[in-house]
């Protein structure tokens, strides 16, 4: 303790410079951690934090027995796996193509266009989806009608939404991820390619035996990093596309949207906090595991 005081005195200015940020985290991150206690109560707004009746594990039990926990976990994990693998693969492919194509003008334009979705809000993405898929005025149904086909009511069928959601997630992150992979490709020394060319390797050989192996570490690292957050969702994306359309929950409800509804629609504070705590706790365990794996394999890349 005396060490701390001496240190405080010595580096007064440094402590002062970081003080506000520390207060910020105490208030907005550490205080709410106390609030996980709501998960064990039957919350009522008047009672507040410790005035509400304590119910032990009842909220968790209900979540589990109603099947909500299982289906939420399944949806969240499967969506994230699809986002991570399809997204990274497509970004990798784009980066390889862009790095090899000759036309500078084409490369620049394509890269800019692919980056565009990254800059817009999810509200606009929601508008896109509605424009494309709604029954009365949607582009797809308008086309179907033009060809004399019956229209398809997307908002009554759960099946297509899996693909729509994955598509728009991959769509929004394409340009961003491509830049990361492009940077990794640019850092590969030209000498490898030159030497391979002299040895008679064609472009496919060079990509197969030089570019891809050199990118694998980045690829694995990015995948591992994102696996840690696999229980966290893309709330914006899901909510702007699906909204409060209960018809579609079966295939589109993730933990984040469930927690949001507990707060804003059902006012079920205890249950929502329980689901959030479950997400946080298992997310924590997952990050620790992933970090342990990275540490074992590529120590310098470990998170901590």
């Amino acid at each position: 303790m005396s060490g701390l005081i001496a240190e405080l005195r010595k580096n007064k200015m440094l402590f002062l410079m970081i003080a506000l940020v520390l207060v910020f985290f105490v208030v907005f991150s550490y205080f709410p951690m106390v609030g996980v206690y709501y998960a064990f109560t039957n919350y009522n707004f008047d009672g507040g934090l410790f005035g509400s009746p304590f119910v032990g594990m009842q909220n968790f039990k209900f979540l589990y027995e109603s099947g909500a926990l299982l289906s939420l976990t399944k949806n969240t994990v499967l969506y994230n796996l699809a986002f991570i693998f399809i997204g990274n693969l497509l970004q990798l492919i784009c980066a390889i193509f862009l790095s090899e194509l000759a036309s500078k003008w084409f490369k620049k334009t394509a890269q800019s266009i692919m980056f565009l979705p990254f800059f817009i809000s999810f509200v606009l993405v929601g508008a896109f989806v509605f424009n494309l898929f709604n029954t009365e005025t949607g582009v797809i149904n308008a086309l179907l009608r033009q060809f004399g086909l019956p229209s398809y009511d997307f908002y009554m069928n759960t099946e297509p939404w899996k693909y729509i959601i994955v598509f728009f997630n991959v769509w929004k992150g394409l340009g961003y991820g491509t830049v990361i992979y492009l940077a990794a490709i640019m850092s590969i020394s030209d000498e490898y390619h030159e030497a391979a060319k002299i040895d008679g390797a064609n472009i496919f050989h060079r990509i197969r035996y030089i570019t891809i192996p050199m990118l694998i570490p980045t690829f694995i690292l990015l995948i591992l990093l994102s696996l840690g957050g696999i229980l966290k969702g893309q709330f914006d994306l899901f909510y702007q596309i699906i909204g409060n359309n209960g018809m579609l929950y079966e295939s589109t409800d993730i933990i984040d949207t469930y927690v949001y509804r507990s707060l804003a629609v059902n006012f079920d504070i205890g249950m929502g906090t329980a689901a959030g705590l479950y997400q946080s706790f298992f997310g924590f365990v997952l990050v620790m595991t992933v970090n342990w794996i990275i540490k074992k394999t590529r120590e310098d890349y470990a998170l901590f």
Binding site: M33, Y38, S121, V125, V179, I203
Partner: protein, 295 residues
């Protein structure tokens, strides 16, 4: 010298140009549909749905939007102020914290780093956070709820710390010998050397503020306080259309252009970011590239 293109290179190029072109088109198409919808007549949309090319080109939706633009201008003012203040103050706090944590001779840097980093590993979740802000801070319907909670994030501090780590220690050492205080070293030496980092994180932060609709969704109840994206969300999600004077001025059987109007609002609201983004993108690419190479 004649450059001979190998057959394989030729094939690669053909496939490459096709794949990239298709993906680029897919990235543009939804935007185009909004633009096209905003120039379509309401009757056409109701009859045929949205089309790639409107057959009845009209700017009436824009006329409606601008016949009574106060609501949108107000939302613009809210979003611009929040973005400007949030980004500037946020950058100041983040860079200061990043500087302190990047100082290798600062004994508590690891303890404090972990204190900050831990918040990304475990959190109370949305609901306790919401109750804190509404019940204990009493920020319901206050701009503070839109401004403060988004200002600082652990990831941005970690990013900033990593940028600043690459600044040679000897520069800081020599400034100290010359008698410079910590704040002077930070503001006069470290900040100018961290411009790429500041630009990248500033853009991230600015974009997050500009595109934020969620905070307003859960905290803001007064219509006049809506930021831009939330106003757009409200207009898109509900039948409630902008308070335009057009409908009132026309005959009773006039049906306000709901669908095309929504699209026009989407364009007006998104406009600035579309014009700014090619310019912003350059900084992003630069910043991301530096970050990626560092690993």
């Amino acid at each position: 010298m004649k450059i001979r293109t190998e057959r394989s290179t030729l094939w690669f190029n053909i496939v490459g140009y096709i794949v990239i072109s298709i993906l680029s088109l897919l990235c543009l198409l939804p935007f185009w549909l909004i633009v096209s919808g905003s120039f379509s007549s309401e009757a056409e949309i109701v009859r045929d749905g949205f089309k790639i090319f409107p057959s009845e080109f009209t700017i009436s939706a824009y006329q409606s939007v601008f016949s009574n633009p106060q609501q949108i201008f107000k939302a613009y003012a809210v979003s611009i102020s929040l973005t400007a203040v949030g980004t500037l103050v946020g950058l100041f706090l983040i860079s200061m914290a990043g500087y302190v944590l990047s100082r290798k001779d600062f004994k508590y840097r690891n303890t404090l780093s972990f204190f900050i980093y831990f918040t990304t590993l475990f959190s109370g979740g949305l609901i306790p956070w919401y109750i804190l802000i509404v019940k204990y801070l009493d920020w319901k319907d206050s701009y503070l709820a839109l401004l403060i909670p988004m200002m600082v994030s652990a990831w941005n501090i970690i990013l900033m710390k990593n940028f600043m780590k690459s600044i040679p220690e000897s520069i800081i050492e020599s400034a100290k010998i010359d008698g410079a205080g910590e704040f002077t070293i930070y503001s006069r030496l470290v900040l100018p050397l961290s411009t790429p980092g500041l630009a990248t994180i500033g853009l991230f932060l600015g974009l997050a503020y500009w595109n934020d609709w969620f905070s307003a969704n859960i905290f803001i109840t007064t219509e006049a306080k809506y930021p831009l994206q939330f106003l757009l969300y409200k207009i898109l999600a509900s039948a409630a259309v902008l308070k335009t004077s057009v409908a009132a001025n026309l005959s009773a059987d006039f049906k306000p252009p709901t669908e095309s109007l929504k699209m026009a609002v989407a364009i007006v609201v998104t406009g600035p970011i579309i014009f700014l983004y090619p310019f912003l993108q350059r900084y992003f690419v630069k910043g991301l590239t530096i970050g990626a190479v560092k690993g």
